[in-house]
Symmetry: C2
Subunit: 345 residues, 2 copies
């Protein structure tokens, strides 16, 4: 993700839930505190980083704190594999190896831990990525909430693909590989017992095969990003900012399942802000858009791929994301602030 | 670490603090639950794993949950760098890149976070390893304790070194690079306000330069291990088990600083079980022992290096560790069970 203008310091004397939500507050914390201290990159923050001295290898790490641990369609174990595999994939890389660091709360039922780990192991096996190392820490009751998992992945970049959040170009078509809003609404509904979870399930799944299917298009593929925390709004804003372009898309093209729309209506959520774990946006040269859509749709996980819109020149407003509404109006889609949905991944 | 005989299941229906302490309970949890689910290695568990398809690269991950965050000699930030750099070094690798995953509790003072990250950044800079990627999650008040950090390191194996916990051979000399017991006693004393912390400081520091200094000895260096959780007792037991040998050492050779000995006496701790973060054991062919000691002592962090003992044939008891006491008796040094010192790293 990219860094945005810091908020005034006085608002930020303590860590807020929104600092972890993937929106403006997260960007502010990274820009003001994390990156200056760790000497992090000044350029765009990608989902995975190149390993110095190893030109084809990338590294990505992700902490998982989802609550509840189990939800329709997945659990923290499968999510921890998919999330990191997908971050590697968004740099055009296939997964080579995973590490798994467990942080456990004293008193956790071992049966619950076993179920999480069985799911994690199954997800890794389905992806074909070995878990090669790990770590287990335990803290006292009340010092953590059951299980937190940090997975780190090493990936190898697919030959021919060279994608970056800074590589969108005017004229690019903007594609989305699958339905929107399923993960966030499912987890929230399960956590709060709202009842929608009977009709929906998280979309958590690995995206590396979709990326491999796009590899044949080579340089025509410019940007890949999975709209997780902060949703589609955050993903598009980050890309528009990092590439200094404007992104326009049609509200009517958004693939929002009916139960997701109903849940968002009742909960007052903007589906553009809801986290996803099984779809990605693809920015591709216009003349390769049909081929890219066909490649995505050739796999089950891309069966619902659609064209959302296109990139235009910045026209004095680089970084702007605009939605064309059903009635023909244009609405600016801002970066979410960040406090909407804690512990969604 | 190696896996030991599982304890009966009935004792283990919930996660205990000792499951994270690096002793027998940790080994049991790994053997019974973690490794079967994740398809982990059946051989010895090394501090860092080889990356498939990348013969010179290793990967290691470690979660840090130390309490308090700051203690004499270090803090969770520097510890998170040193711990992972040292795990890479124990596979004979120099650090190439780090990832940092932060898990923050809502309400944490930003000034405290900034101090932790400044220390982390400084430690990484001193080692010369870039932090190339990261992640930040926030959970609600009471769902974590201030800051947990998971660091993952990619390392490149130094040419000539080929070390493994399974490579100890009868006749090897057993060396220790520095004083024993400083980290664990310092953290415990600080946490509990016992007063020893005025006289001692954690030994937290990177060991990669010591390992580089040993690289010239090549194949004569058989095993490297830093005695962190579980202390020297766990490290030697793991090596003895994985190599199917017997290890003997002299109690009188243990470099235990006076304040550490006093703290252990009063607290009822066995210094052999106390965690260290700045020393390592080296198993080296007998005829290279003097050269190895000289190499260690050539650097400030190895200035206190000593010879502890030697490896002997198993004689029907593979995996046994024996201490020759000051009065000439022999005491079997067991793997610690694990509940002694929670949240020490």
């Amino acid at each position: 993700m990219s860094t945005s203008c810091p908020l005034p310091r006085a608002e930020n004397e303590r860590v807020l839930l929104g600092h972890g939500a993937g929106g403006r507050l997260t960007a502010e914390l990274l820009a003001s505190t994390v990156l200056p201290a760790t000497g992090g990159p000044r350029g765009p923050l990608e989902d995975a980083a190149l390993v110095p001295g190893c030109p084809d290898l990338v590294l990505s790490t992700d902490g998982f704190v989802v609550s509840p641990l189990f939800f329709p369609g997945g659990d923290i174990g499968s999510l921890a594999v998919h999330g990191t595999v997908n971050d590697l994939a968004m740099r055009g890389a296939e997964p080579v190896a995973l590490s798994v660091a467990l942080l456990l709360e004293e008193g956790l039922e071992l049966a619950e831990l076993e179920a999480v780990l069985a799911s994690l192991g199954k997800a890794a096996q389905e992806v074909g990525v070995p878990v090669i190392t790990g770590d287990t820490k335990v803290v006292g009751r009340g010092a953590a909430d059951k299980v937190f998992i940090t997975t780190t992945g090493v990936g190898r970049r697919l030959p021919g693909l060279s994608v970056s959040a800074a590589a969108a170009r005017p004229g690019d078509a903007v594609l989305l590989s699958g339905p929107l809003g399923l993960h966030g609404t499912t987890v929230l509904s399960t956590r709060e017992g709202l009842g929608f979870e009977a009709d929906i399930a998280s979309d958590t799944r690995p995206l590396h095969r979709l990326v491999a299917a796009l590899a044949g298009l080579g340089d025509a593929v410019h940007v890949l990003r999975d709209p997780t925390r902060g949703g589609l709004a955050a993903a598009l804003n980050e890309i528009a900012q990092d590439s200094r372009v404007r992104v326009e898309f049609d509200e009517g093209a958004l693939p929002v399942p009916e139960p997701v729309a109903a849940a968002c209506d009742i909960l007052g959520l903007d589906v553009l802000h809801v986290a996803n774990e099984g779809c990605m946006v693809v920015f591709v040269a216009a003349d390769a858009a049909d081929a890219a859509l066909a490649a995505l749709r050739s796999l089950p996980e891309g069966g619902g791929a659609v064209r959302l819109g296109e990139v235009t020149a910045a026209d004095g407003h680089p970084g702007r994301v605009v939605m064309r509404t059903a009635v023909g109006a244009r609405r600016v889609v801002d970066m979410p602030l960040g406090e909407q949905l804690p512990r969604i991944c």
